[in-house]
Symmetry: C2
Subunit: 226 residues, 2 copies
């Protein structure tokens, strides 16, 4: 293939879209912002943009993280490439989607000033721009599977959390209730939590033990699953 023929193929756009999951007020939420230029002006969408030819995919995903929450030091994984010819109204754009798990309280450093942002509950999603909704469908499927197979739920919680917090997170995202005793047994057996004192709550009742995540045995589970 000569240079000229090669160049003839270079008529496409590639974009990166980012799905940021957070967990707050007992609900799984998704970061969105309002689009302020056409197409889809005024619609809510996932953060995303076209990439320049000198930018790597992961690099752009991390930039989008910085723009969205001011922090790139969080869990980030490639989800899928979306390549339907008609998916972008202005031209042919192949999108590579990433998803990220963060704790809204602790991992959000700053929101971008130039856009209106909103955390939307995963079970009350409106119609979003482009094919964002099908990306989210897939991301939710993947998140549920990962949650079952890998110790990934911690990423959505603050550094210190109670086992009840963790269980609530699992129940909410998997959409079914879990037995408290069995849940605790299973989590404790993983041996990836460290006790760090009792929470000083205002509420009545016994004060719950706080745990923090201990990355010692963690990487093994992340690769193999359990």
């Amino acid at each position: 293939m000569d240079r000229e023929e090669f160049d003839s193929y270079f008529k496409l756009g590639v974009s990166v879209t980012l799905i940021v999951f957070g967990f707050e007020e007992g609900k799984l939420k998704i970061f969105t912002n309002k689009i302020n230029r056409n197409p889809y002006k005024g619609a809510w969408s996932l953060p995303g943009r076209l990439i320049r030819s000198d930018e790597g995919l992961d690099e752009v995903a991390e930039e989008l993280l910085m723009e969205s929450i001011g922090n790139r030091d969080v869990y980030l994984e490639q989800l899928n490439a979306f390549g339907k010819v008609t998916r972008h109204p202005l031209g042919r754009v192949v999108d590579v989607t990433f998803y990220s798990l963060i704790n809204i309280q602790e991992d959000v450093v700053s929101y971008r000033a130039d856009k209106e942002i909103r955390w939307i509950e995963s079970d009350r999603l409106p119609e979003l721009a482009y094919d964002n909704n099908s990306m989210l469908d897939l991301a939710l499927q993947r998140l549920r599977r990962r949650l079952i197979n890998r110790p990934i739920g911690f990423k959505l919680l603050p550094k210190e959390f109670t086992l009840n917090d963790l269980q609530e997170l699992y129940e909410q995202i998997l959409n079914r209730s879990l037995d408290k005793r069995n849940f605790r047994k299973k989590v404790m057996k993983l041996d990836i939590l460290t006790e760090c004192g009792r929470e000083d709550t205002e509420s009545p009742g016994r004060k719950p033990m706080l745990y923090s995540f201990n990355p010692k045995r963690y990487s093994h589970y992340m690769e193999q699953g359990f």
Copy 2:
């Protein structure tokens, strides 16, 4: 964003690469062909090509299947997008990789005439063109995980196969030996196989029972895993 600015991003290439796995002579093999133009002229590579802006990703993957084995009616799944800036020597190309599982005896209809092709054993891979080797690393990881979690091994075998064939396939790909009785119990409990008579072998010894794959309960396992 106006049209002009939008167009300024359209300087990238997108390619699709296809990894076709087959199983023959007790070995996992990968379809490759010899590149007959630059760059990488003379090197072995996975089938793949740049896409035009009017072609969908899945569509191109299926076309590559047709070109490679003359058959698109086989298992096909997206693997990953590879987007490092330097991965293609002639320019910026983002690659979306797919992998496919076929039976070499029954699913190969025809090979393309214009290229030299070769099935390479997965444990004797040479240096391939582009970043094909890292694609294969990832594909192998994924195949092993899928093999454990979903009843996918059948795709690599002929329509009728023996349980010993199936076990050999698992042992070879997972690279460990399995207990014959336990393996058979587990497979039979899935209840996705139908007996279809004994094989008429030439060899001494009892004639093995042939099974065929029964897709009744199959789709459930494919979504959920087991």
